[in-house]
Amino acid sequence: MNLHKLSSRLCPTVTQRFRHLHIQSSGQQLEAVSEPNLLSVFRTSEQDPSFHSERHTGQYYTLPAAHIQKLFPHGLPPRFQLQIKTFNEGCVMVRPPALELISYLKKADYSKPPLRYILYGDIGTGKTMSLSHALHYCYTQGWLIVHIPDAHLWVKNCKELLPSSSRPSRFDQPIQASQWLKNFKITNERFLSKIKTTQQYVWTKRERTEKGQPLGELVDQGVNRMKSSSDVVGAVLRELRLQAGGATEGEGAFKLAVAVDGVNALWGKTSLKKEDRTMCEPEELTLIHNLRKMMKNNWSGGAVLTALSQTGSLFKPRSAFLPSELLGEEGFDHMEPFVPVSVSNYNEKEFESCYLYYLDRNWLQHPHSLSEEGKKELIFLSNKNPSTLERLCAFL
């Protein structure tokens, strides 16, 4: 079947051995027989996302641990983080949506305004993971990453909502902002000293940041002083916007990748209330306001990668997954024109790959799951939906 096609591209002797392993009774330990340099059919040795192509679809590649720590201090979905901890490695499947996104990123012209990519699809089909894959590509290419792991977290469950110090009608969220700044610092360490501020920022009567200071100072200012952290975020974003496409040669050149997951939160409703018990609009939150400015294409030298999310969204029906439904009219007009990338359930080959990966990691402990019957049951019960499959296998 598909196993055959995959394996025929690699060493034929490997195939024989692998099939032999499967045909053996379930009591046999797979690990004892496999060697470290054995190429499994569902893994690829290509660790660099820029070299991933169609022939790698369905195969898992490993995210280096150092990269995970730096690039995704907060970025990966919580279940995936648990999986990394359990399996002792972070493996991501190479899938067509991510490959499409990476190919667009490769071909785009960065002297023009940024292209906005929206990953959309049904619940649990792998939008966040594809986004992470593309982001990993950007990171390996040396881009500056602005990653908001879930915009929904900024519009709900906020314990402290302070009126903004700079503008009277806005609200600040100091905890979220400072948290994000800390993570931003971890991801983009090397850029912080190179980029300089272009204008003076006055925070309070006694604090100010001069023109020409390294960005690192600005970030520290936000981390240390919680009160003004939301405004710092706004300032940082503004600086990056101004300087992204700036110098094409020299030390200051960098490309900016803005990645937002759950971008429909920016234009939806919040569940936060003001002091007079009326609902807060997303416009009135500083963080959201600044992020919206980032989403516009009035700057150049980067790309905007976003993914929609219904799971965390407020007041949206579960069946909604199209951009027009989730973004709403306002959001759609704002984001237009954009490049939509659709993400769907696993096809047969990808399902096969995922199944083999779980078997390899000894995640499927139930003896029945090794047989063809068990596999058919898994296909039926999960309908090849990645997240459903993951949750299903969690207790097998």
Partner: protein, 385 residues
């Protein structure tokens, strides 16, 4: 009107206490042996009569008269319905009565019915002693004459069989493998059924004793001689799987086989089309089943019939379901899928499915709320005083 009248009379008599009692006693004794309609009676007499008298007794003349009336009534009914009185069967009678007296009552036994008096009036024993008071049957004074006479008969047969056996042995024609009576597909008659046959009450111990004797009879060789007698006490069981009607297998213009079936569970109605040579897609109400049933339990219910026959990836299911909640909808779909599968599956598989419970409609329905209680079972807070 008579009822209200007698109620009124009864209430007056109640007030007059003892004098009313005497008056009524004399009145009731003079009434002949017809079905007694107690017109005026005091409360104490009323209560006593119910306990002691037992079920009403009908005389043979009364029963005969009822049979005559039934036959005449049957012919009248046939004439009314415009059908031939000669070939008017009991089913026709039932149909006509249901038509002429439409009833909205839920309990089928409360609806108007016209049946032969033998089915309506319970069987009663005729008088068992002659004019001088001497009983006919020799076992009358045991109290249960038919039961003991039956036991006697069975034992007689056992002895006869043993004698027969000895005779055959003497002749040298004894063969141990004789024709055996086929007992599969039948069961012993229940205690209630034997009671009905004997028109007598039997105790549990007595019933067991009878069955033991019959089994002893069966265990002997040459029991095939008494086959008819024994089969009188066995009841045939119907083959359950023949009751299911298999939906017809239809074909698409493209030649793809499909079948349509319905299912119900607890107010949820489902109807599906099962198509062959598919890839295991399931669409319900136009949406994917992963959207309709996010709960794993519901999807497992859908999977059960297909997994049981081992045809998981073979069919495409397209269905619509409405009513009730998600669990009931899943149950209704499961029943519908099982029924549709009957046309794709062999006879033996049908029996297996029936035994697995896939083809049985779940009869459980929401229980009614009763007055005086919070819900169906929940009572109001109990206060001691």
């Amino acid at each position: 009107m008579a009822a209200s009248g007698c109620r009124g009379v009864r209430s007056i008599l109640w007030k007059y206490g003892s004098c009313g009692k005497n008056f009524c006693l004399s009145r009731s004794k003079t009434v002949p042996q017809l079905p007694v309609r107690q017109i005026c009676v005091s409360s104490s007499l009323w209560k006593k009569n119910l306990a002691a008298a037992g079920p009403q007794k009908f005389t043979q003349e009364f029963i005969d008269k009822q049979v005559e009336e039934f036959e005449i009534g049957k012919r009248h009914l046939a004439n009314m319905m415009g059908e031939d009185p000669e070939t008017f069967t009991q089913e026709d009678i039932d149909r006509s009565i249901a038509y002429l007296f439409p009833s909205g009552l839920f309990e089928k036994r409360a609806r108007p019915v016209m049946k032969h008096p033998d089915e309506i009036f319970p069987k009663q024993t005729a008088v068992q002693w002659d004019a001088e008071g001497r009983p006919f049957h020799f076992l009358f004074y045991t109290g249960r004459q038919s039961y003991y006479s039956l036991l006697h008969d069975v034992y007689e047969k056992i002895l006869a069989m043993e004698r027969h056996q000895d005779k055959m042995r003497n002749k040298g024609l004894f063969a141990s493998e004789t024709k055996q009576i086929l007992l599969t597909g039948s069961r012993w008659q229940l205690k209630e059924e034997i009671e009905e046959y004997l028109v007598e009450n039997i105790s549990d111990h007595g019933y067991m004793r009878l069955i033991q004797l019959l089994e002893k009879l069966l265990s002997m060789p040459y029991c095939s001689l008494e086959e008819d007698f024994i089969l009188k006490f066995r009841k045939q069981l119907e083959v359950q799987s023949s009751k299911h009607e298999i939906p017809a297998l239809q074909h698409d213009p493209q030649g793809v086989a499909f079948s349509v079936a319905d299912g119900r569970r607890k107010t949820a109605k489902a109807s599906i089309t099962l198509r062959d040579s598919g890839s295991g897609n399931i669409t319900i109400n136009g949406r994917n089943y992963l959207h309709c049933f996010p709960l794993l339990q519901d999807r497992e219910q859908l999977m059960f019939p297909l997994h049981f026959v081992g045809m998981l990836g073979r069919f495409d299911v397209e269905g619509s379901v409405e009513g009730s909640g998600h669990s009931a909808q899943a149950g209704a779909l499961r029943l519908a899928i099982s029924r549709a599968l009957l046309s794709f599956v062999s006879e033996g598989e049908v029996e297996r499915m029936r035994q697995a419970g896939l083809l049985t409609a779940d009869p459980r329905i929401r229980e009614r709320k009763k007055p005086g209680q919070e819900g169906a079972r929940k009572k109001f807070t109990w206060k001691k005083r």
